[in-house]
Amino acid sequence: MIDMFFHNFKYILKTLFKNKMLIFWTFAFPIILGTLFHLAFSNIANNEKLDIIDIAIVKDEEFNKNIFFKMAFKELSDKKNEERLFHTQYVDEEKAKKLLEDGEIIGYLKLEGETPKITIISNGIDETVFKYVTEQVLQMSQTGIFEIEDINIKNISNKNLDYTMIEFYTLIAMAALYGGIFSIWVMNQIMPDLSAKGKRIAISPIKKGTIVLSSFLASYIVQLIGMALLFAYTILVIQVDYGVYSKLVVLLAAVGSLAGLSIGLAIGVLMKVSENSKTGILIGITMIGCYLAGMMGISMKNIVDKGAPIVNKVNPAAMITDGFYSLYYYETLDRYWFDVISLCIFSGVLILISFRNLRRKKYDSI
């Protein structure tokens, strides 16, 4: 059976590498998207090139009470600070609205209790930076990681305000989950109820388990090579710095890829629709998952985490991005390992469900 295992493994590996459509979506598309992110957000990544952003803060009793926000925005708007981000006007709410309507500011902040409420009238890079920084200040105030004197532009810009890093985390999550396209394709080739090739394989004297396992392993290898290329591209060409935790980033990407393949396996085995429809479903699930995990803006992840925490608990894209965030936000690796284990459990459950269905030997119709 070992011979058969490697025979099938070799040829599935070959077919996967030669399938241009699969390679485009899993290898090329994330790299293209990464390049676009790099071009679009390089201004933000490089703080020196950032323009000073005009904002307003509603100066009322709530704001005056919140020393954290007061100090943070004072520091971020300090003219003496070479890395200053904002030009801030402290006004009442009516005035803030008028400034916004007149286009003199891009948005204003009002504290409701301890929760910051941001009002903007359009979505652009400046608005995103404003929202992002506000959320960072809020997180710091909630976790109490930093003392008030620690809130300065250096902390925010060097450790937390690398906007492109966030995009790259979700990009890696997306690329990992796109690996499911491989397992969908492979299942379609080897299952007798899905293709004529599958029928031919099913009537051969090779055990189904051998075929499925060797094909799944081949898909995983190709997916890992795709992820390695993505990492190489982001490190060497875009010059993304994954920092001291690069090995843990790779591990998380590998576990995320397993989750992607498991989703593809489950879709491939359980759904009785065409291969194209299955691929569409996988891409849809991945994109929605990445959106909820913060691909189009970190605020969405926070909204989901607060409003419907269960969603991101079962959202593999959120598990992956959360694992990445935790490497940079938290002092310990507990949350990172929690995310890794959650992804392993998620994958295991899907693989078990799929294999339970794969055990079927005969079909009602093919």
Binding site: K14, S195, K197, K199, R200, S204, P205, I206, Y363
Partner: protein
Amino acid sequence: MENVIEVRNLVKKYKEIIAVDNLSFSVREGEILGLLGPNGSGKSTTINCILSLLKFQGGNIKIFGKEMTPNSYELKSKIGVVFQDVSIFDELTVYENIDYFCGLYVKNKETRKKYIEDALKLVGLEDFQKFYPKKLSGGLLRRLNIACGIAHKPKLIFLDEPTVAVDPQSRNNILDGIKQLRDMGATVVYTTHYMEEVEILCDRVIILDKGKIIAEGTTDELKQRASIEEKVTVEVNNLDVRELPKIKDLMNVLEVSYEDNLLLVTYKDGKNNLVNMITYLKSKGIDYQKIYSERPTLNDVFLELTGKELRD
């Protein structure tokens, strides 16, 4: 000769629809058995049940004297199948495709190499080994499909309509190849709705309709079951239809029809029917362009048994 396949009282339903209705037949070692029937008659379903791919509601199936199950790996190693749909990898060359499927049966690489060469020769694809399927014509693809199914030299081969949409040259090549397989000792089950292929190829024929066997035997035996013995066709323009009853009254004539300038006369028996017809036409001063005689075909048998054409 031993029976290679024994099917007894096979029943297969798709919900309320009976696809195979209490089917029983056997296939003898070394023969080419033709399963002939129109689309939807149950040919492919029967094969899929025999191969243990499909669940069935009744009956039992034995191959080489043993019950066929999905785990009958020893039996499976003796079987080769060519499905109706071309089942190959577009990403692999002709050689690689054959090697992949042959490799599921034959471990030894040297043996496999020899088998692949034999298969390529059998289907006439020696010059296309390095071609990718997209570069092959429909006929060549069908040949590759066959090579993938038989390269491991199976003792029992199922060919499910392997010549659908194939050019005449490829069809002849395929049919010659199948005869060679039989001559090399394989037993072949061949499904088709092309009666000409069955007549050329098959030692024995089972005619299926609506999941039931409606006739079984050699082609000659089946033709003898038809009430017509001979068909005479005359190409004649503007025949006066009042002649038709008179022609029907001629000796041995069973049926007469005239459509699209073709006069078709069927005879139940007798000799010299063609000569008699020519004599009659001359006596009546009827000019004709062509006249020819045919023996009844399997389609005539099918028509007589079911009231419809095979390709309906």
